[in-house]
């Protein structure tokens, strides 16, 4: 089983509902965020091409953050979810340096925090907070190893890309383009 996410850049409007939902659901300390919206603008006015993406930890298969962690606090759990155990984390910052997506940050208490794919919800059969609230339904979440899941189907059908593929991390957030 492997959890993955597909985000439709054609449908995302950048409303930030996913950001707020995550902050609320996961008690993210004020001023921090586990997911964020970024926009890429290419071209010269009036020929502009705009892409809006909701970004977060890519739960990489070849996760450099897990590799560089000196204590094993950063680890891979069931379904390929990358998590941090706070009481094993010494706050050295190696994983933050290692992540090509800058998806990690120091919690004010000192340990490293990041997206958990809402493991507590997913375990109970729910979807992640961000996917549940998205008003344009542009976030698909599920088990990509199951060919009948929504995400496996949409990935099979649509053209997609991943971010910084050349970093070799095998990211598991797919952006539909």
């Amino acid at each position: 089983m492997r959890y993955a996410m597909a985000i439709d850049t054609k449908k995302c409007v950048g409303c930030s509902d996913c950001v707020v939902a995550c902050q609320t659901e996961n008690n993210v300390p004020i001023g921090y965020a586990r997911d964020w919206i970024s926009e890429t603008v290419v071209g010269i006015y009036p020929d502009l091409d705009l892409e809006i993406r909701s970004e977060r930890c890519n739960h990489c298969i070849n996760a450099p953050c897990v590799r560089t962690c000196p204590t094993g606090a950063s680890h891979i759990t069931e379904g390929g979810i990358i998590k941090v155990t706070p009481f094993e984390c010494i706050g050295c910052g190696a994983c933050i340096e290692a992540c090509p997506y800058d998806a990690r940050f120091f919690h004010p208490k000192g340990y490293v925090e990041k997206c958990t794919f809402c493991e507590h919800r997913v375990k109970n059969g729910q979807s992640t907070a961000c996917a549940s609230v998205c008003p344009t339904h542009c976030i698909y979440f599920g088990n990509i190893d199951d060919p009948n899941s929504e995400i496996a189907k949409i990935i099979a059908k649509r053209k997609y890309k991943v971010l910084a593929q050349e970093a070799g991390t095998k990211p598991q957030i797919f952006y539909l383009i």
């Binding site: 950048g14 962690c69 204590t71 910052g93």
Partner: protein
């Protein structure tokens, strides 16, 4: 035109607009680690080759700095931790893929080795001891006693165990040197690998960084020995060694940039930080000119029998060494993959 914006969510000053997680602690730690590695390397090397007598400072006196540098380096590392109360978690596992883990373990191993090394020479380093009039002497009175002899060493241990231990370390010095040379090379290379293991930062992610930092560490150590030694011949030899190390360093740095410029867009942009970008002046002035070229010229002049005050090249080399690590740490965090 291509523009990337983060419009909402991540407003974290440690991450945006550029990553700024590692501050002064890491370069200081890398510098001290490299220095200690170099000092212990030279001590071990001249012991293994049986030249202890010729290189008294390198073998006997300079290593005293090593455990102090390692200690201070570890303190710097500790200050870098944001969750320091849990630092002991470092020593609950060994993670071969993590350079941080390697570093923590190597320092833990090399620390006692370097102390034992100094202990084996303690009587030669401090042959005369006054247990009556100075403060440290009074404290040490519990374990050492003064002897009324005309011999060179005027004291001995009171505790039998210490006597046996000292004798043992002196006998086993060669074996110790072999352990030390291996550990010191690992430590020296490691200071570069700590950075080069990060694929996400294109400036760091090059395998040249290991040998480059090792060479730089050896060079700072050679400079320190030059400053400490009173033996003119030893100084000249280390001056020559240092000159060679500087040439190697310049060669490796050229290679570094050639590799970058022949690489992907992210690598080219990393190199451009130093070739016209915001670190150009800082890097070329502090590291290349002040830290490498001028000391190389001074050392060459000295070999040609000109009188050069030794403090000059030494201070410049140490300055170049520390600036190099500061700049690499700082600049590396700016470089990233674009998407």
């Amino acid at each position: 035109m291509r523009e990337e914006l983060i419009t909402s969510g991540r407003m974290n000053p440690n991450i945006d607009p550029v990553l700024h997680i590692w501050h002064w602690q890491i370069p200081v730690y890398l510098f001290l680690g490299g220095l200690a590695a170099g000092l212990l390397f030279f001590a071990a090397y001249y012991t293994i080759t049986g030249k202890e007598k010729k290189f008294q400072t390198a073998v006997k006196y300079a290593p005293i700095i090593a455990p102090i540098a390692i200690m201070l380096g570890l303190i710097a590392l500790l200050l870098d931790l944001r969750h320091p109360a849990y630092f002991w978690q470092l020593y609950t596992t060994i993670r071969l893929e993590s350079p941080m883990s390697w570093g923590a373990w190597i320092l833990l191993l090399i620390m006692p080795v370097s102390i034992v090394w100094i202990a084996s020479y303690i009587k030669e380093i401090f042959p005369k001891f006054d247990t009556e009039h100075n403060f440290i002497g009074k404290i040490l009175k519990f374990i050492i006693e003064k002897k009324d002899t005309e011999e060179e060493v005027n004291w001995d241990w009171k505790i039998k165990f210490l006597k046996i231990f000292e004798k043992y370390t002196i006998e086993k010095r060669k074996a110790l040197a072999w352990i030390m040379i291996v550990l010191s090379v690992i430590l020296g290379v490691y200071t570069g690998i700590l950075l080069s293991a990060f694929n996400a930062r294109p400036l760091w992610n090059t395998s040249i960084l290991g040998p480059l930092f090792l060479t730089s560490g050896l060079s700072t150590a050679a400079a320190t020995i030059m400053l400490m030694t009173k033996d003119h011949r030893e100084r000249m030899i280390f001056s020559r060694i240092d000159l060679l190390l500087i040439v190697i360093e310049l060669f490796l740095i050229t290679h570094l940039f050639m590799g970058f410029l022949a690489g992907s867009q992210a690598k080219i942009e990393a190199a451009n930080l130093f070739l016209g970008g915001e670190f150009t002046v800082t890097f070329w002035v502090n590291v290349i000119i002040l830290g490498l070229i001028i000391p190389a010229i001074l050392e060459a002049l000295e070999l040609l029998k000109f009188k050069i005050p030794v403090i000059l090249p030494v201070a410049l080399i140490l300055w170049g060494g520390i600036m190099f690590r500061f700049i690499m740490t700082e600049a590396g965090q700016i470089t990233r993959f674009l998407y």
